[in-house]
């Protein structure tokens, strides 16, 4: 196997990893703060992609604006769900919220199918990014490199914001001990809503980024969410750094698996997950994380 060929395949892995990382980072933030597994995360990712498509179709919104506005809109929708539904079940067993968000995902997906069918809608790569870069044996689409760059940058900023800034400190405090944090005069209730909105906005961002390279369909969320949950399990529930790194690692493993023996490409991720659960049940990065109780 040529080196440049391997490099290209690793780039492909990083591109899928870019989506997994954004998705699992959002899940990890929400889980860390609220202890709920957001099953509607895939639906939010799908809504991000559709948001970009609809905005382009009806108001001619360019891709770069969609990259900002679609996640904001989906984030707002997420906050609405948090305030109106999820919050009401927070005192109960986490199972209730799992069922709620799972139901939400189904309702949202079928609602979109009602309007857009199952086969998808066209969304093209922005004209300024359609070029190719020559990487040895063949050209590589510029857009894919941009996806890697944007995702890495956003993940890095979020990680720094949570680990190093005063706002991040408040979030971490609220995660550790909500009532004590409340006693310090911090509005934990508001913080929770914002964190949930931000988590799903990250999912929507991944959706917008993926829209030009994949078929935009109502089921795209349920297709990717299963792998994302595997990423979360491998990385360790609630670990910020773990979710980012594992996202990229799983992307590369899947891409290389597809080259070495295609029929096993999808299974490989779950084999990895099973292996991790056997030898390191708390996940690759889960053990020492303060957030994990």
């Amino acid at each position: 196997m040529e080196l440049s060929y391997l490099a290209l395949q690793i780039f492909n892995g990083l591109v899928s990893g870019a989506y997994y990382a954004l998705l699992s980072l959002g899940l990890a933030i929400i889980f860390g703060m609220m202890r709920i597994v957001n099953f509607a995360h895939g639906a939010m990712y799908m809504l991000g992609a559709f948001g970009a498509y609809l905005a382009a179709k009806y108001v001619g919104l360019p891709f770069w604006w969609a990259l900002v506005l679609a996640p904001l809109a989906v984030g707002a929708l997420g906050m609405l769900f948090e305030r109106s539904l999820i919050r009401r079940l927070m005192r109960l067993d986490p199972l209730y919220n799992l069922l709620l968000t799972f139901g939400l995902a189904l309702v949202i997906e079928d609602f979109m199918k009602l309007f857009f069918g199952t086969q998808g809608t066209p969304y093209a790569i922005p004209a300024s990014l359609t070029g190719m870069v020559n990487l040895g044996i063949t050209g590589y689409p510029v857009y894919r490199l941009v996806v890697i760059a944007i995702s890495t940058l956003v993940c890095l900023i979020v990680w720094i914001a949570i680990e190093k800034t005063p706002l991040g400190a408040k979030i971490r405090a609220a995660t550790e001990n909500p009532s004590l944090t409340q006693a310090f005069g911090i509005d934990v209730s508001l913080l929770t809503t914002l964190v949930f909105g931000f988590g799903v906005a990250l999912a929507a961002l991944a959706g917008v980024l993926n829209a030009p390279t994949t078929n935009v369909t109502p089921s795209m969320g349920s297709d990717i969410i299963i792998t994302t949950f595997a990423v979360v399990v491998i990385g360790g529930m609630g670990s910020i750094k773990g979710s980012i790194l594992t996202g990229f690692i799983v992307g590369i493993v899947a891409a290389l698996g597809a080259v070495l023996y295609p029929p096993i490409a999808n299974t490989l991720i779950f084999l990895l997950m099973a292996l991790i659960l056997l030898v390191r049940p708390s996940g690759l990065f889960g053990a020492t994380e303060s957030g994990a109780r």
Binding site: P94, G117, T118, Q119, P122, T214, N215, D223, P262
Partner: protein
């Protein structure tokens, strides 16, 4: 917390299982003064747009056009979603035949499901018309007395598309094959057709089905410099592969051999993504005045344009009702006898007959070129028909059949 998480996953699994088993019950059994037909297809997943509810509308249209009754008995239409799951498909088929007294089932996309349902038809002694399901196994080793394959099969696609591209210079093929019954059948038929036309398959990837990311395979394909990239898949998989083929600029370096394509697939990306490729279809709404008139009526009814398999299902139901009229009974054995060897001509099937020995519909097939968006004048005006291939040339000759009815 660990306990909680484990419980969460179990609950998730239970919910998923519940959803899979959730069965929408069709209307209850009725007395024998009605003829009941059922559409069994994908109404919620990857093949729902290319057939799905659109086929249900086309079938209702066929019944209405026939006068809503045959032998003075009302014809009722049921429809059930099989979600591309062979187990669910065969369960539902058995329920339809036995509990709902359905006389015939139509459509059944997804080859793996179609094969499972064909087994049920044989067991229950009830009629089945597979229209959207493509595998040629339905009329080969796994053929049976009650199953008819109507509209196209993987052999006909390979004989036309595969042979034509190879003969026009696309000698070396790199195959991307959906790893289930349909893809496997496509691959073996295309490989045979390509070889007999003087070409070869230099590599094949069995891609998991369904799949959304083809980039790894495409990089691999580029490094092998094939003349043709062969897409041995359907629906969403084909759409995703084509989107990424365009993204990687591969249309400039290789021809794209698309095994099976429907108008809805083209619409999902826009014509420019597909333009230049040659495909084989069993019919097309813009073929002639007859098909255009039919499509206009379909559009008036549904607000949408039909894919060519919806027209195929319309034809299949019409021919089935006609066979009942000729047989003067809806008894399956008598109807099968009427269908076997029957020669006819309708809006879908031209120069057509149902081959008695293996129940394959032999009819004209069409080779089409996909137009660039600039040449598309109206919705779904995607194809330029370049050649009509007579049924005898398109379909497998009887001498090569392994079917023993």
């Amino acid at each position: 917390m660990r306990q909680h998480i484990r419980a969460l996953w179990f609950a998730a699994g239970a919910v998923a299982l519940g959803l899979m088993l959730q069965l929408g019950a069709p209307s209850p059994a009725s007395a024998d003064n009605t003829i009941i037909i059922a559409v069994l297809n994908d109404q919620s997943k990857v093949y729902a747009d290319l057939s799905g509810q659109g086929t249900v509308s086309a079938v209702r249209m066929a019944v209405q056009d026939y006068g809503g009754a045959v032998l003075g008995r009302e014809v009722k239409v049921l429809s059930v979603d099989h979600q591309n799951d062979p187990a669910l498909g065969s369960t539902k088929a058995h329920e339809l035949y036995e509990q709902d007294h359905v006389d015939a089932i139509f459509d059944v996309p997804t080859s793996s499901v179609a094969l499972a349902v064909a087994g049920v038809a044989a067991q229950d002694h009830k009629v089945l018309f597979v229209t959207t399901g493509g595998t040629d196994a339905l009329t080969m080793a796994q053929c049976n007395k009650y199953t008819f394959h109507y509209g196209y099969d993987t052999y006909a696609l390979a004989q036309n598309t595969g042979r034509l591209i190879t003969e026009s210079g696309g000698k070396h093929w790199y195959m991307l094959t959906a790893n289930y019954a349909f893809g496997q059948s496509m691959l073996s038929n295309f490989t045979a057709a390509i070889k007999s036309a003087g070409g070869d398959v230099i590599h094949n990837d069995f891609v998991p089905f369904p799949n959304t990311d083809f980039s790894s395979y495409l990089i691999n394909a580029q490094s092998m410099r094939p003349d043709v990239i062969g897409l041995m898949n359907a629906g969403d998989d084909t759409v995703n592969a084509m989107k990424q083929i365009n993204e990687f600029g591969m249309k400039k370096r290789a021809q794209i051999g698309i095994g099976l394509l429907f108008e809805s697939d083209i619409a999902a990306l826009g014509s420019d993504y597909w333009s230049g490729s040659t495909i084989t279809v069993g019919s097309y709404w813009n073929l002639d005045d007859k098909t255009r008139a039919w499509a206009a009526r379909y559009k008036k009814r549904t607000g949408k344009m039909p894919t060519w398999v919806m027209l195929g299902n319309y034809s299949a139901v019409t021919q089935y009702l006609d066979a009942i009229a000729r047989a003067k009974t809806d008894d399956a054995d008598a109807v099968v006898k009427q269908l076997e060897g029957y020669h006819f001509e309708d809006v879908f099937a031209r120069h057509a007959y149902i081959r008695a020995q293996d129940h394959l519909l032999i009819h004209d097939m069409y080779v089409a070129k996909i137009k660039p968006a600039s040449d598309v004048k109206e919705p779904y005006d995607f194809l330029q028909i370049v050649k009509t291939i007579p049924g005898e040339q398109s379909y497998r000759p009887l001498s090569q059949s392994t079917c023993h009815l």
